[in-house]
Structure formats: structure tokens, C-alpha cells
């Protein structure tokens, strides 16, 4: 028996699946399962985070509902996944955030947007706030660069610390020693697997969404979203280097690297979330953790708003709307950062850790077989 009902159910299913094994070619979960005969809490949390929720094992399973064996691996692991993030969260006091995620994220977002608008309004008269500012340093007329850097640096740092602490607890629980420098090959394999979303393809035909016809749309939209996010992050990083190394101040001309990266990323981060949300709304409820709908939507919405406000700022930056839009954009980005460790964002981090672990296990097995 495990600590929670969902882990008991996951254990029951893994026992069913381990005596069948028909799904072992579909993804990483079932080969990882086959390496074990019994499952600890950590093992089940590892398998839950390894699952990409493609749904193929549900559609292919001869024992899925209405069969009396009631095998629904995607839904069970989806619930277990969120519960695992709740269990590993740092600090512990925020564990409840996952349960009411949509509400909390909305509140934090609204609050931080309000804070920036109020802050801008309090510090500047309306001439500055609604003034037209152009040329290098235009943004910093509204908020000094150092204040911006300090605030966002702190928020980002906090998010990183909280995420690292959570994943550290996960890594320990699944029985891995801290530190994995020694296995660069596994790390590289995991980067490839995550980068391609290798296990979101239903074993080759695509994942299952609204019915039993496989499609690759979710993977496509996820790529838009993920690489859009990555490009935006790259844009910010380049801009930071420009500022500190070269002394070049934002805003940059449209053809300059930060703007090009940010624009491409922004487009991805508009299209991707719209697609993901559409697919999420169509998705067969039998495959998903319904209680998590708010969290899924909140994260998608935050990414979309980050991009939308950023793109609006780019387009209207030489008009009087720049001040209010900057406040809006900074508010959204700030709330995205501080809520990162407490929402759907963490799925990527935990899944990557699980993929690293899986790559290590596979290599160990292959070496074992080779001897």
C-alpha cells in the first residue's frame, strides 16, 4: 500500500500492465515499468512524470473501461503527476496552490499587473505615463533599468531555487544520487527526447485527443509553444548581454537580434497556446485529470498573454500606449515567473528529469546485457 489512493491505483495498473506488456513499444513508461517487479512511491512518481499523456495505451488497451479491469493509465498517471508535484513542492506551504491553480494564477497575475500600473502611475505624472518615448532607454523612463533588473532577477532566481528544490526532492525519491555529471550521454539523450517530444507520438502515428483517430497536432502546437518560449528567453538573454557587455540600451531596432528572436518566439507563443487550448478543450475527458483543467488553462493563458502583451508593446512602442502596455507586459511576465514553480510549467522540468533517469536506466540495461 502506498501513501495515497492514486498511487495505490497506479500500482494496481502497473501490475496489470506488467503481466501484459503489449504497450512496451508505445513509449518510455512501459519499458521502464518492465525493469521493475514492485513499485515504490518514487517509482510510480517517476513513471507518472515519464508519461507524456499521448493516450495511445488507452486506445490500444483491451482492458480499458468498460472492461472490468478498468485500466486507464493516462488518466491515472495524470492525477499522480499533479499529486507528485504537490508532494515535492518547495516551500511546503505552497502545496495547496496546485489544487486551486487557475484561481491562484489568475489572482497573482491580476495583482502583479495592478501593482505595475499602480507603481507606474504613482511614480510618474500622466505626461510621462502616456507620453511618447523613443530611442535607446525609452522603457527606462518609466522604470529604471536597475529596478527592473533587480525585481525580475529576484523573481527569476526565486523560481529557479523553488524548482531546483522540488526536482531535488523528486530525484531523491526515485532513488537517484544527487549529481549526474558522470552520465553526459544520458543527459544528451534526454535533451533529444524532450526536444523532439519523442514520446508524444503514440508509438509513431500521433497522439490521441478527441477520438480514436491519432493526430500529431498536439505535438506541433507544443513545439510552437516550447520553441516560442525558448526564443523569447533567448531574446531576453541577448538583450541582457547587449546591455551589460556592450552598453546598448533597449528598445532595439526591429532588425536587431533581440527583436527578431522575440518576434519569432512571440508568434510561436501566440499560435502554440491557441492550438493547445483548442486541443485541450476537445480532448476526451476520459484521458485527462479533469480537476487539473484550471491549471492547464492558466498556464496556457499566461504564456499567451506574455506573448500578446509583448507583441503589442513591440508594435505600439512608439505611441502613447507604450507606458500602460509596458506595465501590463511586465505585470504578466512577473506573475509568470513567480508562479512557475507552482503550476503546469513544472511538468517540463519533472518530465525532463524523468527522461534523464530513463536514459540512464536504458544505458545501464544495455551495458548489463552486453557483459
Amino acid at each position: 500500500m502506498h501513501g495515497t489512493r492514486i498511487l495505490d491505483e497506479a500500482d494496481r495498473l502497473m501490475t496489470v500492465c506488467n503481466s501484459c506488456r503489449y504497450c512496451e513499444g508505445l513509449c518510455a513508461v512501459f519499458p521502464a515499468m518492465e525493469m521493475r517487479r514492485a513499485f515504490s512511491d518514487g517509482d510510480l512518481n517517476y513513471l507518472a512524470n515519464l508519461c507524456h499523456a499521448c493516450g495511445a495505451c488507452y486506445t490500444d488497451c483491451q482492458f480499458s473501461p468498460p472492461h472490468e479491469f478498468d485500466v486507464n493509465v493516462p488518466k491515472t498517471l495524470a492525477v499522480a503527476r499533479t499529486e507528485s508535484w504537490t508532494a515535492y513542492v518547495w516551500p511546503r506551504a505552497f502545496a495547496g496552490v496546485f489544487a486551486r491553480n487557475g484561481l491562484v494564477i489568475s489572482l497573482v497575475a491580476a495583482l502583479s499587473v495592478a501593482l505595475f500600473i499602480f507603481g507606474f502611475a504613482a511614480r510618474h505624472d500622466s505626461q510621462v505615463l502616456f507620453g511618447v518615448h523613443t530611442g535607446p532607454g525609452a522603457f527606462y523612463k518609466l522604470m529604471p533599468h536597475n529596478a527592473m533588473a533587480a525585481l525580475f532577477g529576484a523573481a527569476f532566481l526565486y523560481a529557479i531555487v523553488a524548482l531546483v528544490m522540488g526536482v531535488r526532492a523528486f530525484w531523491r525519491d526515485i532513488g537517484e544520487p544527487i549529481g549526474m555529471k558522470t552520465d553526459a550521454a544520458a543527459l544528451f539523450q534526454a535533451i533529444r527526447d524532450a526536444g523532439e517530444l519523442r514520446y508524444l507520438d503514440g508509438g509513431g502515428v500521433g497522439c490521441f485527443n478527441e477520438d480514436d483517430r491519432p493526430t500529431d497536432r498536439r505535438r506541433l502546437y507544443h513545439h510552437f509553444t516550447f520553441y516560442g518560449f525558448a526564443l523569447c528567453f533567448a531574446s531576453t538573454s541577448v538583450a541582457t548581454l547587449y546591455h551589460y557587455l556592450l552598453g546598448w540600451q533597449a528598445p532595439y531596432p526591429w532588425w536587431d537580434l533581440p527583436v527578431v528572436l522575440g518576434t519569432l518566439g512571440g508568434i510561436g507563443l501566440l499560435l502554440g497556446p491557441i492550438g493547445l487550448l483548442t486541443e485541450r478543450r476537445k480532448r476526451d475527458s476520459v484521458l485527462v485529470d479533469e480537476a487539473r483543467y484550471g491549471m492547464d488553462v492558466a498556464f496556457i493563458a499566461m504564456l499567451f498573454l506574455t506573448s500578446l502583451t509583448g507583441m503589442a508593446l513591440l508594435i505600439l512602442r512608439e505611441t502613447a500606449a507604450m507606458g500602460p502596455l509596458l506595465a501590463l507586459h511586465l505585470g504578466v511576465v512577473f506573475s509568470l515567473f513567480v508562479t512557475m514553480p507552482y503550476g503546469k510549467f513544472v511538468h517540463g522540468i519533472y518530465r525532463f528529469a524523468a527522461l534523464v533517469r530513463y536514459a540512464m536506466e536504458r544505458r545501464a540495461m544495455a551495458q548489463g546485457a552486453g557483459e
Binding site: T15, V16, N18, S19, C20, R21, Y22, C23, E24, G25, L26, P31, E34, R37, A56, C57, T59, D60, C61, Q62, F63, P66, H67, E68, G203, G204, V205, D212, R213
Partner: protein
């Protein structure tokens, strides 16, 4: 929704591998096709739901097959496992056709993968379905739908109108729409055997059949088979025989599938309800040993037996769905199994005393055997002496039946007078007895289904379009 008033070129009754291969092949040959599947959508596909591979001849290794499996070798295997109870012409035809099925089935959307963990012995001969039998079915159904095959579920056929070997119409009974007549120019019967029809099984097995568990769905009732035999089609295969393996007695009555089976016999002993051994547990290696225990248990009182082993061998076989029943002593275990403790203790003591020293290797016929007891355990005999003592209760699990209808190389039914039917064809388990009169080898049922399904569909379409 299909217009069921129109006359179809080809009517396919059944919904498994053979039925879908027939439907797809008939449709590809230009025919209009209606599939009537008696089960609801979830349970569609009969025994195909629970399959996982197919045995096809091939002259060279492939991406997923580790080496060649020639037609000659396939034929030798078939001859051996059926003890000669096979139609040589049909069997050799099927084996030759099986080569192309490896590619044809992929063109219908089915995907292969190498043999599953724990089945390495099949890596050379058998191609496994990625995702298993239901994944295979899903792919075939998607292809059939895309091609325009009409499919109706919950479609029970309650009568066939056949005149002098010619199919005229079928009487369809649906839960909501009631009874209607379905007309078609040709019929493909691919509706499986009668393994889920306990009353029918009782004709041959008596009341013992009440204790049988059925490994597939409750829809394999053999009603189409019975109608055809009653209406003048020639039968083939021993009606009294069925393929049975030992499965966990705690399994559901129907549709427990592959996960309820036990393959731990060689690691211990098997006793009946009187705590007596009744057969050499070490007679042969997998898969033969696996296929005989269903019948052996069926012959025991109350059709129940117990595989008994100790804690040293638990990890020697695949994890099982149901945990073994455990006891710290033989007596405690006997109590939990409701066996006579003294009798079980004596059986195990006698067995342990008879075990001769040897070198255990479960992958070969090793030299660990007993001396001086009856029945002996001729291989893999080791003392059962390390608690906890463990047991699996087992019952006969019926996989399929052998009685079928005779067909020729066109998969065309042969009537009792020896004449071929004008427009009736059969494929799959319903005619498997032509090729497989006895015995079984992994994946052979699917070969029969795909090869004869494809042929039946093609021939039925040709037949209908020449009308």
C-alpha cells in the same frame, strides 16, 4: 449511418482480424461492403483483441524479425504441432501467402514491433503488433472506414437465408432498430468459434464446462457457425476439442485475456483439490507445456488445481496479475487453499524426498528430476522448502474451439455434398480447423485470419461483381 436497405456486394459477418481483412480486401477490389459485428464497439474484434503477433514465412531477417523462417520450416512446424491433422494443400497455400501478408497488413495501417520482453523465443518467427491486438484492430477499422466500408456494431445476425448453397440474405437484430433483412451478393463468414457458448461446450464436456473460464469476450458464441452447419455447409475439425491453458482461478468468467495465464508450472508442483499431484510438471519446455495444462486441469475434480512453489523462484517468471497466495508453513498455505493440510504436507514431503541432485536450467531440459514417485517430475525438479510457501489456483481457460466449416483455396465454403458454395466464403477461426486440426503455435490463428480474410474478401468481391 449505412443504408441497410441497399443490396451490398459483400456482407461480412464478424469483426475480428479475418473479417476486417476480408472487408478491406473486398472494398479495395471495388465492392460495396457491410460489416456486421455482433459485439458493441469496445468489445469488437473477438479473440483478435487479445492477440499480439502473427506467424509469417520470410526468407530473410527484417527490421523486426531476427532471421529467416522459410516456408519449409513453417510447414514442418505445422505438421508436427497438428500431428498431421491439416489439409496439406490449404496449409501450404496459406504459408506461401503469409509471406506477402507481412507487407500487405502494414499497407492496411498495422504496425510491427520486435518481440515483447519475455518472448525472445518468438523473435525469429513471429511479428508482433505494436500496441497489441486491439491496436491492430483499431488500425484495420480506421482503414476500413476510410475506404468506405460500412460497419455496424451490436449487430446480431439471428438467421441466414441460404438456398442450395447460395446465400440470399441475413436477418439482423439490433438493440434499437429491431429486426431487418440484409441482402448481399456474397457472404464472408468470419464470426469465430463457440468458446463462449457454455451450453454448447457442455454437449462435449458435461457439467465440467461450468467451471471453465473463457479467455475472450462473451460474444464468441458460434451462432453463425451453427447456422451454416445446419444449412448444409460441410464441417471440419473435432467438435469436442478446444484449446485451453491454465489460467488463474480468480480471473473473470470472460475476457481475462493473456494476463491471467500462468507459466510457473515448471518451477513447482501442481496438485488437485485432494492435494495430489497428477502429471509430470517437467515434461516439456514452453510453449508446449503451456498448452497442455488447461486440459489437464479440466480433467481434475471440480476443474481446479494449484501450482505450488516456494519463495526461491518468485522472480523466475513474469510478474502476474494476481499475487500468489502465501503461507508461512505448508499447513497454513493448505488452510488458505482449503486443501487437507496433512495431505499437502505428505505430497510435498514425498516430492522433496524424491528430488535428485542436478544443475537447474529452465531454458533446457535439465537434469533436475525425481526418482521413485508417480507421476515423476522429469526436469526442473527442486525441493520446495523455503518459506513462505506460495500457490496460484488455476482453472481451464478456453481460448478457441476447433470445429469449423470446410473451405477450398478460394476460402469458398464447401457444402456437405462436396460442391463449392455459389457465393459464401469463410475466414478466420470459423474455418481454422482446415489448417489447424489440432494443437497450436503462437500467432498461427492470426495468419489464418489475415491470409484467408484477404483471399475471402477478394474472391467474394470478384464473385459479387460478376453477378
Amino acid at each position: 449511418m449505412a443504408d441497410l436497405n441497399q443490396k451490398f456486394d459483400v456482407l461480412v459477418i464478424g469483426g475480428g482480424n479475418a473479417a476486417l481483412c476480408a472487408a478491406i480486401s473486398a472494398r479495395r477490389a471495388g465492392a460495396s461492403v457491410l460489416v456486421l459485428e455482433g459485439a458493441p464497439k469496445f468489445y469488437r474484434g473477438g479473440n483478435t483483441r487479445h492477440t499480439r503477433n502473427m506467424r509469417c514465412a520470410h526468407d530473410a531477417a527484417t527490421d523486426i524479425l531476427t532471421g529467416p523462417y522459410t516456408e519449409e520450416e513453417f510447414w514442418d512446424d505445422l505438421l508436427r504441432l497438428t500431428g498431421g491433422q491439416t489439409d496439406e494443400e490449404l496449409a501450404k497455400f496459406m504459408i506461401a501467402e503469409s509471406k506477402d501478408i507481412l507487407n500487405w497488413i502494414v499497407e492496411q495501417g498495422v504496425r510491427w514491433q520486435p518481440s515483447l520482453g519475455g518472448t525472445l523465443s518468438l523473435g525469429r518467427t513471429n511479428s508482433f503488433f505494436l500496441g497489441g491486438g486491439r491496436a491492430m484492430l483499431n488500425a484495420l477499422y480506421l482503414t476500413a472506414e476510410r475506404l468506405g466500408v460500412e460497419i455496424v456494431y451490436d449487430a446480431e445476425v439471428i438467421d441466414l437465408e441460404i438456398e442450395q448453397g447460395m446465400f440470399l440474405s441475413a436477418k439482423l437484430k439490433q438493440p434499437i432498430d429491431g429486426v431487418s433483412d440484409i441482402r448481399a451478393s456474397a457472404l464472408v463468414a468470419a464470426a469465430g468459434g463457440f468458446e463462449a457458448n457454455i451450453e454448447w461446450l457442455k454437449q462435449y464436456w458435461g457439467e465440467a464446462a461450468d467451471n471453465f473460464l473463457i479467455r475472450g469476450t462473451p460474444y464468441n458464441r458460434g451462432s453463425i457457425l451453427k447456422m451454416l452447419l445446419d444449412k448444409g455447409v460441410q464441417d471440419i475439425g473435432d467438435p469436442t476439442q478446444c484449446h485451453a491453458v491454465a489460467i488463474d482461478a480468480r480471473a473473470p468468467k470472460f475476457d481475462g485475456g493473456i494476463i491471467t495465464r500462468h507459466d510457473s508450472v515448471v518451477f513447482g508442483i501442481v496438485v488437485n483439490k485432494h492435494a495430489q499431484r497428477f502429471y509430470d510438471e517437467g515434461e516439456d519446455i514452453w510453449p508446449k507445456r503451456y498448452a497442455i495444462w488447461g486440459r489437464l486441469v479440466a480433467a481434475q475434480p471440480d476443474q481446479i488445481a494449484y501450482i505450488i512453489f516456494d519463495s526461491t523462484v518468485v522472480t523466475s517468471f513474469m510478474p502476474t496479475l494476481f499475487s500468489p497466495i502465501a503461507g508461512a508453513t505448508i499447513g497454513e498455505l493448505a488452510g488458505k487453499l482449503e486443501l487437507d493440510p496433512a495431505a499437502l504436507e505428505k505430497t510435498i514431503t514425498d516430492f522433496n524426498a524424491a528430488v535428485r541432485p542436478g544443475t537447474f536450467d529452465h531454458t533446457i531440459l535439465d537434469d533436475c528430476r525425481t526418482e521413485g514417485i508417480t507421476p515423476p517430475k522429469t526436469h526442473w525438479a527442486r525441493r520446495i522448502e523455503t518459506p513462505p510457501y506460495l500457490a496460484y489456483p488455476v482453472r481451464p481457460g478456453i481460448t478457441f474451439t476447433y470445429l469449423g466449416i470446410r473451405v477450398n483455396r478460394q476460402a469458398r465454403m464447401v457444402m456437405k455434398d462436396g460442391k463449392p458454395s455459389a457465393n459464401m466464403f469463410a475466414a478466420g477461426e470459423i474455418m481454422a480447423g482446415n489448417v489447424l486440426g489440432k494443437g497450436y503455435a503462437a500467432g498461427i490463428g492470426m495468419t489464418i485470419g489475415s491470409v484467408f480474410g484477404r483471399v475471402a474478401g477478394r474472391e467474394a468481391a470478384k464473385n459479387a461483381r460478376n453477378w
